[in-house]
């Protein structure tokens, strides 16, 4: 922080003296003293509007009563909030507000948590109003959000939140005077990001959630503070339950890394855990079909077959896959189980789908496995570079930090995205950027090379670096000079001026944060692109400086945790290499048992080994490779060949349908543990309801396996596992308000600049293959939608109201060219197969590209080829060239 000692002013509130930083509002200062001044329109996240006139207070030397929400505290101010004049003012304003407010309390969902009710009770406001109250026609607003405008007190909090914080501007006040009502901006039902912000911020029952309408009263609810189970942002949520039923999700203002903001998934997606299709009993395959069994039978079956296979084929005949949605405790126990009880390093997690690229890049260059920056650094940055993030859809809360940096702190936003700036119903990050470069995902590498070239040629290389590592600088410069501006322009479709300008902005920033998202990290060659990005930051001197850093965004809620817990074949807990002698010794000492040393197989390799029959048994926890990987990888055949396939799952997925034993697992709503968000911040997960049916948390199941196999790894509860993790990983798990991010390791940087970069400099600094687009084809890309996360959210009744299926999103120019209208059925085909879907025309899709949300695209996977990165073994299968033909 720049100002350590901000200027303070001293003022007196109701006789109590307090010193506050300059610029604090009187209402804030009063809160610090413990005086709650009633208010409706004031909210700490929003600019003061002073329209409700409820927060009037008496300020000495000012003739009229002043609204404390818009009055800034000055030195020597005396404020009185409890005099008769002020009390009468509050009462009269309350009377005015109640004048047109309907007597809806019995039927209003806000009853019990309503600001107006509470203040009326406090001031025993009466109403002499004997006239007719104004009413508004009730209109359909949206499937998930309900408005009852009669109750609106016109505080405009919802409008301001949607405008200032979310930058979506979906709500607007219509009409004048008493007939002001809040409607969606345009004569149509609400179509927005459905973040639930307006529902949470409305002080009365004018905007409520339809998902849990009429189901509860606030005094009946039990609360559990936990972490969202969808994306990597790790928002803190409060899950409200009644009688073991999930009722709703709130967030507390200022709490968690998200500061109380949520997105559609967090706010409306929680009912995925209580879907009726949840597995409630263990299943065993008998005579070809899965039948219900008891836990004893299932565990004995697993133990018996595991022992048999281990005896006949050895421990290397086993493999394990775990989802990045499991808690840290489960991930740790899983890799310990596979390594000790089973005895193999063939284990992997869903972090392999993309997140590993970012983490490996960070380890190679700066020696950390976590970000060296935090969300606060993003907010305080003066230059933000976003590459392949689609941040407002994939990681919306990190997106909110970016928006805050741009809107409130005037940060310069540079974006390299596969989006076009266009105003739509959900926010578009490229609308806010100062310089935007629109490229196809396969050309992100070319764009980064363009930036590097502009940096080298524009003389933006840090002078101290030139002296420190001259060989590195010259090698990179030479490699970059080999590339031609014309080739770059043809590949990316962007001229050199854009890159030159962007490089200048980047180099001129003092606090520069580069964010890389899943669209980049899951694409082919992403590891190389990340290394190039780190080169870019290094060369401009922005990697080691304060407030600067590289930030790869995680897709699933605990992808970062999966890597840190060692649920990766080549890594041990604490992100130490398996090949590192000291690391192995340390873990061996902690576990009191020897580790297997043979290199383990990664995700695709395991499928290959299963195909050839070397791997005969697979333990899959929460993962669904049959539904996630393209059939070209042969995953279904490979898994069908296994002698033992054990799945721990929430639902009967495609993979579980092939299993020999399916065990019902508990969702994140039903177990305790910790998640590590994309920043590296470890947060506590607490159970909201009891496990559904007979399901158990994954760590309990793994522990039971180990007991039945005779090598018990027993724990009383999840906390004991966390204790062990803390003992094994030095300095782990700072569960606290904000993480202390690791600093860039200078030794690692030195190593990289002396020899590390040489390893693959030549391959990294070549342009990726150009896309050749034929007529009638588009470049199909799998994307993440704002309203879904993986396949888990497709079980949420709330989210399915907004996006019930995946539509092919196309640019209007492409649609016109192919003779398509919105809603037309089309067949996508290429050499691999066919897929039929419906068209949706969307302005922000660049020409030549078409997007398909991957949450509903299991059947479309056959169109894609899978390419495995030679370094990080990440499978990339997110783009394919397809022809689009209209069908009936």
């Amino acid at each position: 922080m720049d100002n350590i000692t901000a200027e303070h002013v001293r003022l007196t509130i109701d006789g109590i003296s307090i010193s506050v930083p300059k610029g604090t509002l009187v209402i804030e200062a009063a809160r610090r003293v413990g005086v709650m001044i009633p208010h409706f329109c004031y909210h700490p996240k929003l600019k003061p509007d002073a329209n409700c006139r409820m927060c009037l207070v008496e300020v000495e030397r000012m003739p009229k009563l002043q609204t404390s929400c818009s009055t800034v505290a000055t030195e020597g101010m005396t404020v009185r909030t409890a005099t008769t004049v002020v009390h009468n003012a509050h009462k009269s304003v309350l009377e005015f507000i109640l004048a047109n407010h309907p007597l809806d309390c019995p039927v209003c969902d806000q009853g019990g948590k309503c600001d107006l009710q509470d203040f009326s009770h406090q001031y025993t406001a009466t109403s002499r109003f004997a006239e007719t109250k104004r009413i508004f026609q009730k209109e359909y607003f949206s499937p998930l959000i309900e408005t009852q405008m009669n109750r609106c007190v016109q505080c405009l909090r919802c409008v301001r939140y949607c405008d200032e914080v979310m930058d979506v501007k979906a709500l607007a006040p219509i009409g004048r005077g008493t007939m002001t009502e809040i409607k969606s901006f345009g004569a149509h039902p609400l179509d927005c990001e459905f973040c639930g912000g307006c529902v949470q911020i409305c002080p009365v029952g004018a905007i409520t959630s339809r998902l849990s309408m009429y189901e509860y009263r606030p005094w009946m609810l039990k609360r559990a503070d936990t972490v969202c189970m969808f994306c990597g942002d790790g928002c803190q949520i409060t899950v409200q339950t009644k009688d073991q039923e999930l009722i709703e999700v709130n967030s507390a203002q200022g709490a968690g890394r998200n500061s109380g903001d949520l997105c559609a998934r967090g706010f409306f997606g929680f009912r995925a855990a209580s879907h009726p299709d949840r597995l409630t009993h263990p299943l065993i395959r008998r005579n070809g079909a899965l039948v219900e069994a008891t836990w004893e039978e299932a565990l004995e079956f697993v133990a018996e077959h595991t022992k048999r296979l281990k005896l006949s084929h050895g421990p290397q005949a086993f493999g394990g896959l775990i989802s990045g949605r499991c808690t840290n405790e489960e991930l740790y126990l899983f890799q310990k189980f596979m390594r000790l009880t089973i005895g193999t390093n063939n284990l992997d997690s869903s972090a392999r789908y993309g997140h590993i690229n970012g983490v490996q890049a960070m380890r190679s260059v700066q020696g950390t496995h976590r970000w060296t920056v935090t969300f606060e650094d993003i907010v305080q940055a003066d230059v933000l570079l976003l590459i392949g993030t689609n941040i407002t859809e994939a990681n919306p809360i990190t997106g909110l930090k970016v928006k805050e940096a741009v809107k409130k702190h005037e940060a310069t936003l540079l974006t390299i995205e596969a989006i076009q700036p266009a105003i739509g119903t959900i926010s578009n990050i490229s609308n806010l950027s100062k310089q935007h470069v629109c490229v196809a995902p396969s050309q992100f590498g070319a764009a980064v090379l363009g930036l590097l070239k502009a940096v080298v040629e524009g003389n933006h290389i840090d002078s101290t670096l030139r002296q420190q590592a001259p060989d590195y600088v010259s090698a990179v410069s030479q490699a970059i000079q080999q590339l031609d501006w014309e080739d770059l322009a043809v590949s990316t479709g962007v001229s050199s001026e854009s890159f030159v300008q962007m490089a200048a902005s980047l180099a001129g920033g003092r606090r520069v944060v580069a964010l890389a998202g899943q669209t980049l990290l899951r694409s082919q060659g992403a590891y190389g692109v990340c290394l190039n990005l780190l080169d870019l930051l290094l060369l401009t001197g922005k990697l080691t400086a304060q407030g600067c850093g590289f930030a790869p965004l995680a897709e699933e809620n605990n992808d970062q945790g999966a890597v840190e817990m060692g649920a990766v074949s080549a890594l041990l807990p604490g992100v130490l290499d398996l090949t590192d002698r000291d690391a192995r010794d340390q873990i061996t000492r902690a576990w009191k048992e020897d580790l297997p040393v043979a290199t383990g197989a990664t995700l695709i390799e395991m499928i290959g080994l299963a195909q050839t029959g070397i791997i005969k048994g697979l333990f899959i926890v929460g993962e669904n490779p049959v539904g996630s990987l393209p059939p070209q990888t042969g995953v279904k055949e490979a898994l069908s060949k296994l002698d033992l396939l054990v799945c721990q799952e929430l639902f009967l997925t495609e993979t579980a349908a092939l299993a020999h034993v399916v065990l019902p697992a508990a969702s994140a709503m039903e177990k305790a543990g910790t998640f590590t968000n994309t920043e590296g911040h470890v947060q506590a997960v607490r159970p909201a309801i009891d496990p559904v049916g007979d399901s158990r948390p994954d760590w309990e199941i793994l522990s039971a396996f180990s007991v039945f196999l005779g090598a018990p790894l027993e724990y009383g509860d999840a906390k004991e596992i966390l204790k062990e993790i803390r003992a094994v990983i030095p300095g782990y798990g700072s569960l606290g308000p904000s993480p202390i991010p690791p600093a860039v390791d200078p030794a690692a940087v030195d190593r990289y600049m002396n020899e590390g970069y040489r390893r693959d400099l030549a391959t990294r600094y070549t342009l990726p293959a150009r896309d050749v687009r034929q007529d009638g084809t588009v470049q199909l890309g799998l994307t993440q939608s704002l309203f879904h996360s993986g396949k888990l959210s497709t079980y949420s009744t709330g989210l399915l109201q907004i996006e019930p299926s995946g539509l092919l999103q196309m640019n209007p120019v492409d649609a016109a060219r192919l003779g398509l209208d919105a809603g037309d059925r089309v067949r996508l085909s290429n050499g691999q197969g066919k897929f039929t879907t419906t068209v949706k025309v969307l302005d922000r899709v660049p020409e030549g590209l078409a997007w398909l949300p991957d949450h509903f695209a299991q059947d479309a996977l056959r169109l894609f080829d899978c390419v495995v990165d030679p370094d990080t073994k990440v499978p990339s299968y997110r783009t394919a060239s397809v022809s689009v033909v209209k069908t009936a």
């Binding site: 003061p48 509007d49 002073a50 329209n51 409700c52 006139r53 409820m54 009037l56 009229k64 009563l65 818009s70 003012a89 009269s92 304003v93 009377e95 005015f96 507000i97 004048a99 047109n100 002499r128 109003f129 006239e131 007719t132 104004r134 007190v153 016109q154 006040p173 009409g175 004048r176 005077g177 008493t178 007939m179 002001t180």
Partner: protein, 255 residues
């Protein structure tokens, strides 16, 4: 300024004032056309010439007064400040239209409190009108002859304020609606005696508690008509009570 910037026309929170943060957050001065129309002459003939007209030291120069209402020649009249109302109405505007006696007049637009015939000799400048209990405001002089129903006049003005209220702050928005409905009831002979107390109370609650001066302005007609012509209100209410048009339903009675 908000409209020019493309937003809803709602008043801003002051401070900061337009002089420092106005249109597009730049220092802005907002002036009436009348003020600007005076500028060429002041620049041409010198400020001393302008200062010599009217009633120095505060109210100098000429003003354009829009005389409307029950006069023979309603229109805009440019007169030097300091001329009396009597002169303006009877000499310049030709006097009352049907030669009936004057009952009331508004000296400065809808937001100025009403004045009675006893104030006819008040001079048209800021200090004198303020001393008389009203304000010079925009210079829109509305004249009402004998026979005008003052309650109706107050209602008409209140309807104007209700229609024009922007709806930002609670007292003005809800208060203007409430006042209009009460006044309509009184005029329609459905009023009660406690309505008068309510009116005064509401007006006091709106004054000084709003974002902009519109709130203070909107209660001026009702307050001033109640002050000077209270018997008219009482008459309407007494008529209502005797006609027994109100059917009161006592609260809390079960069927």
């Amino acid at each position: 300024m908000e409209s020019l910037e493309g937003k809803r026309g709602l008043p801003r929170i002051k401070p900061p004032f337009p002089a420092t943060h106005g249109l597009y957050n730049k220092p802005t001065v907002v002036n009436n056309i009348e003020t600007l129309a005076n500028l060429p002459y002041i620049v041409g003939r010198g400020p001393e010439w302008f200062a010599s007209i009217g009633s120095p030291p505060k109210s100098t120069g000429t003003r354009v007064f829009c005389v409307s209402g029950h006069v023979k020649q309603p229109g805009n009249y440019e007169v030097p400040m300091g001329v009396t109302f009597r002169e303006l109405i009877y000499e310049h505007a030709g006097g009352m239209r049907s030669d009936k006696p004057l009952k009331a007049f508004i000296p400065g637009g809808a937001s100025a409190p009403f004045l009675t015939p006893s104030h006819l000799d008040v001079k048209l400048d800021f200090e004198s009108v303020a001393a008389a209990g009203s304000m010079l405001g925009s210079g829109g002089v509305t004249v009402m002859e004998e026979g005008t129903d003052m309650v109706w006049a107050a209602l008409r003005l209140m309807e104007f304020f209700y229609h024009e209220s922007c709806g930002k702050c609670s007292p003005c928005r809800e208060g203007s609606s409430w006042l209009v409905q009460t006044m309509r009831r009184i005029v329609a002979k459905r009023g009660q005696m406690q309505d008068l107390e309510t009116l005064v109370d509401l007006c006091k609650n709106i004054e000084g508690r709003t974002v902009c001066a519109f709130g203070d302005a909107s209660v001026a007609p009702i307050m001033s008509t109640l002050k000077h012509w209270r018997p008219e209100y009482v008459t309407l209410i007494q008529e209502a009570e005797s006609a027994n048009l109100i059917k009161l339903e006592p609260a809390g009675v079960r069927h």
